[in-house]
């Protein structure tokens, strides 16, 4: 089995206009900058981006927003220091925004990957973010019913990968990458090091079954 592809362009080639794309990362860590740049070059537009943040400065998701490729953002924390392109697009009414509590975002993505139809979480009960959602009280505690969140594609960043698609991560770069691999129809991972030998089965964090292609991108941001 060999899921490795030759370059970033080949890895992002299947992404079409209007696709939903999960993008791993939190702050500056675990973001697949190589794949995002390749996606910019590739040209797909009208994208729904699912990610914790909405980019900062002029790189990564911020660049996708700057270039007008994004129609919709689903995230927990769009406003960060330097999130100027998100703010511009948002204020101009050019993007739709869905804000999801961070743990609910992770759990909705996991639920999609795990084949669940939804879950009851206490998070956001009684708040604006639960408005219009089904709720129920169990043993005196309020819960909100949340739906799974699927995507067409996931762009991931990992430290090490093998031809079977197995991935391991570095420090806090793990973040959303493992659940996003599970929840997308087609997950693409850029890895700092592509090993031809299989990873140690004890050290695999994301098993290859969740990953459709792997590409080496040696740059560490």
């Amino acid at each position: 089995m060999d899921k490795s592809v030759a370059d970033l362009a080949e890895a992002v080639a299947p992404i079409t206009d209007g696709a939903s794309v999960m993008i791993g990362g939190f702050g500056s860590s675990g973001i697949p900058f190589g794949l995002i740049d390749a996606l910019l070059e590739q040209g797909a537009t009208g994208l729904t981006v699912i990610s914790n943040n909405a980019g900062a400065g002029e790189t990564g998701i911020a660049k996708l927003l700057k270039e007008g490729r994004v129609a919709r953002v689903i995230c927990s924390y769009p406003r960060s220091p330097g999130s100027i392109w998100f703010e511009k697009r948002y204020e101009a009414g050019e993007i739709a925004l869905e804000v999801v509590p961070q743990g609910t975002l992770a759990e909705r993505i996991r639920a999609a990957g795990a084949g669940l139809g939804g879950f009851l979480t206490p998070t956001a009960y009684g708040t604006l973010l639960a408005e219009g959602k089904e709720t129920r009280v169990i043993d005196g505690k309020g819960y909100v019913l949340e739906a799974p969140l699927h995507a067409d594609f996931a762009l991931l960043r990992a430290e090490r990968g093998d031809p079977w698609g197995n991935l391991s991560f570095h420090a806090t770069a793990r973040n959303f990458n493992p659940v996003m691999a599970m929840a997308s129809r087609h997950a693409v991972a850029e890895v700092r090091e592509l090993s031809r030998a299989p990873l140690d089965p004890e050290r695999v964090v994301t098993p290859g079954i969740f990953v459709q292609s792997v590409v080496e991108y040696g740059v560490r941001p």
């Binding site: 860590s29 675990g30 509590p101 992770a106 708040t127 806090t172 793990r174 973040n175």
Partner: protein
């Protein structure tokens, strides 16, 4: 204005006051902003294990200049190091720790706290300002002890401690204790109850800048 006659703690003094109440062996999540400074003030001899929602339990000190690792950060996006006994994990596991009641204490900043324990710390009423909720809503429903640290009043002198919050809520009835530059207050079924005044302040002066009753 009454507020001008009050004596405020500095941010460092406030952080030190909160830190005094963090017991040995506690699992603690520090919110972004002022709460991140608490860890620097925990008294010697206590081992506190810090959780950061981006996937590390056992957050250690800032690395020396030149040894930063861009893929080793905390939730405030500051460079960190792993403390002894640290572990890395992914986001669903990280929020299981929060939501599942495994973390003992969270220290959060706030826009407003109500005498009912309601917390508002994620959105204002300004439409132009995009909301950003992050992990605060998950923390407040899962962590049994929610401590708030904040200035007692807004820059314009208006109160942040209120009968009811006017900003969108983060959680209902979740705050246990509030530490401000003027006072420490517990949230009780009857409302705010004074724990202590910070040095140089009178109860009357603090009551004058508080938008709810303070019981003693």
């Amino acid at each position: 204005m009454t507020v001008l006659s009050l004596k405020s703690l500095t941010d460092a003094e406030l952080a030190a006051r909160v830190a005094r109440d963090i017991p040995d062996g506690a699992y603690v999540n520090l919110g972004i902003g002022k709460p991140t400074h608490v860890s620097a003030h925990v008294p010697e001899g206590r081992e506190v294990i810090y959780h950061s929602e981006n996937g590390i339990l056992g957050v250690g000190p800032t690395p020396p200049a030149g040894e930063e690792d861009v893929e080793l950060i905390d939730a405030s996006k500051r460079y960190v190091t792993p403390a002894p006994g640290a572990a890395y994990f992914e986001h669903a596991d990280s929020f299981a720790m929060m939501r599942g009641g495994h973390i003992d204490i969270a220290v959060l900043g706030a826009y407003q706290v109500a005498e009912t324990g309601d917390l508002a710390n994620w959105a204002t009423l300004d439409d132009k300002f995009p909301p950003a909720v992050g992990g605060a809503m998950d923390l407040v429903v899962g962590v049994p002890t929610i401590l708030v640290m904040m200035r007692h009043v807004n820059r314009d002198g208006s109160p942040k401690l209120l009968k009811r919050c006017t900003y969108p809520l983060t959680g209902l009835g979740v705050v246990r204790r509030v530490y401000t530059d003027l006072a420490v207050l517990d949230v009780t079924p009857q409302g705010f109850r004074l724990v202590e005044l910070t040095p140089g302040n009178s109860l009357d002066a603090v009551r004058a800048v508080t938008g709810a009753d303070i019981l003693t």
